[in-house]
């Protein structure tokens, strides 16, 4: 059962990823992107990372892609459709093989150079992807990176507020 769902998710993810670069309309591209992200979330779910899957849908599909769709809606889509460069089928097939070659090379490198070969998969604790486990690790072992990331995000918010603020001296 898991295997069937896994292959369905993979096929849909790959299909929609190819569709992102093949369709004419930028909104359709964005929607195929949402579909890809959703299928990736399904794969996370099968791996037992339920927290990561939910966050993937909320943050990527919900927030980031929503913003992208929003921005595309504000541009003139019709001109974009006329001008847009589309990949042809044989180009896609070519790219596909290049990517497969690349993946195989990376896989070879990872397995033979980093010592993953002898990795004991049973040493992964149970409930590895659960909320409790992630939270525990985040606030004990990885607390410094966590704080650094939150300061970075805070700086981002402050910058966004500054940019969006009305300039009072101008134009009054």
């Amino acid at each position: 059962m898991d295997v069937i769902i896994f292959f369905m998710a993979v096929v849909f993810a790959m299909g929609s990823a190819i569709a992102i670069i093949c369709v004419k309309n930028p909104i359709h591209s964005a929607l195929w992107m949402v579909s890809t992200l959703f299928c990736t979330a399904v794969i996370y779910l099968l791996l037992g990372f339920d927290f990561l899957a939910a966050i993937q849908v909320i943050v990527y599909a919900g927030a980031i892609m929503m913003l992208i769709v929003y921005v595309i809606m504000l541009t003139s889509i019709e001109e974009e459709i006329k001008k847009r460069y589309r990949l042809r089928l044989f180009q896609i097939v070519g790219i596909f093989f290049v990517i497969i070659f690349f993946i195989q090379a990376v896989k070879y490198g990872m397995v033979h150079l980093t010592g993953w070969e002898g990795f004991d998969w049973k040493s992964i604790p149970e409930r590895f992807g659960s909320v409790n486990y992630i939270a525990y690790k985040l606030f004990t072992k990885f607390v410094l990176p966590f704080e650094v990331v939150s300061i970075l995000l805070l700086a981002g918010i402050a910058g966004a507020v500054y940019l969006a603020k009305k300039e009072k001296n101008k134009g009054e």
């Binding site: 909104i27 359709h28 927290f51 939910a54 849908v57 919900g62 769709v69 929003y70 809606m73 909320v131």
Partner: protein, 329 residues
């Protein structure tokens, strides 16, 4: 063999709960029209059957036989897809709502919840995030200036009120120490969350009103400004799907508020499922009642209220909750 029996029971229960949802959706339209009639000293629908009880069926048949118009310049695939996205994401939330305690059928314990997952709250927000695509795409694909305005207002509204809503629910998570709905119901055995988190309760009702697009936040509709918002070009069953999604949201958000604040199915004397439905319908009555009471905000007032009042208040609530929890452990 045992595994497959459990699967079959679960599938049957899933189908039953979706049917219950559809029934509630159909009859909450009648309930709303009857109650609005009472509030405005009118009679309301009373022609189809006694007290108008066949009205939802008549409405459904009427919508089914109407001509299905797709505008010529519309983005046709997206136009067809948008109501489905809205409807499916609205119905999907029913899967994680605990209706009642586990019951015993043919000697095996059956939980009255379709899927008892650890991350119920995140699931709700993930579906809500996908559901807001329904409005946005419906508005975009219609090729109509009113619907695009409606869509952009709706998605801006949904995004800005989701943030305080998440923060308020996080304070509930802090108090109860779990993200799963059945865990939250268990944690409220002695004391309901409405007593522990009264501020969060009232603010969450405001956010819930915005999330399901009801007055005073009914930005997608705004008949007086935008004709009908994002669904102005929709007709026939596609319009009905948006309409049903809206009422499905009304039921599911009431059920979620019941689970989070009013102790879910817990209560004395009466059977759990009755308690659950009573509390849920109390919320639904409240949502219909306030629709008849309040006028609509303007879009800029809504944005100011969301970002400058609700967000600081919910952050303060989370902070106070965290400090109190740290002190009393």
């Amino acid at each position: 063999m045992d595994f497959w029996i459990d699967v079959i029971i679960n599938v049957i229960f899933a189908i039953l709960s979706v049917l219950l949802l559809l029934l509630v959706v159909a009859y909450s339209t009648l309930l709303e029209r009857k109650l609005l009639g009472d509030f405005q000293l009118r009679i309301g629908p009373n022609r189809a059957g006694p007290f108008g009880i066949w009205q939802p069926i008549a409405d459904g048949l009427k919508a089914f036989f109407k001509e299905d118009v797709i505008p010529e310049k519309a983005d046709k695939i997206v136009f067809v897809l948008a109501p489905m996205v809205s409807f499916i994401t609205a119905v999907g939330i029913i899967a994680i709502i605990p209706f009642a305690d586990s019951i015993t059928i043919f000697g095996r314990h059956v939980k009255l919840i379709v899927s008892d997952i650890d991350i119920s709250i995140l699931y709700v927000f993930a579906l809500a995030a996908l559901g807001s695509y329904g409005c946005l795409l419906g508005g975009y694909s219609s090729y109509n200036k009113y619907s695009i305005f409606g869509a952009m207002r709706t998605s801006a509204l949904l995004i800005s009120y989701e943030i305080p809503f998440v923060l308020l629910i996080m304070s509930i998570v802090l108090v109860n120490g779990t993200l799963s709905f059945s865990g939250i119901v268990e944690a409220q055995s002695h004391l309901w969350n409405i007593v522990r988190e009264p501020v969060a309760f009232f603010l969450a009702i405001v956010c819930a009103l915005a999330e399901i697009n009801r007055t005073p936040f009914d930005m997608p509709e705004t008949e007086s400004e935008l004709a009908c918002g994002f669904n102005v070009e929709y007709s026939s069953m596609k319009f009905s799907m948006f309409f049903m999604a809206e009422y499905a949201h009304l039921f599911t958000i009431s059920a979620i508020l019941t689970t989070l604040f009013l102790g879910g199915w817990k209560g004395p004397l009466l059977p759990p499922i009755v308690w659950f439905l009573l509390k849920t319908f109390a919320f639904m009555f409240f949502f219909i009642w306030e629709r008849a009471t309040y006028p609509r905000f303007r879009i800029d007032q809504i944005m100011h209220f969301g970002w400058k009042v609700l967000l600081p208040l919910s952050l303060a609530n989370l902070l106070v909750t965290a400090i109190v929890m740290a002190i009393i452990g």
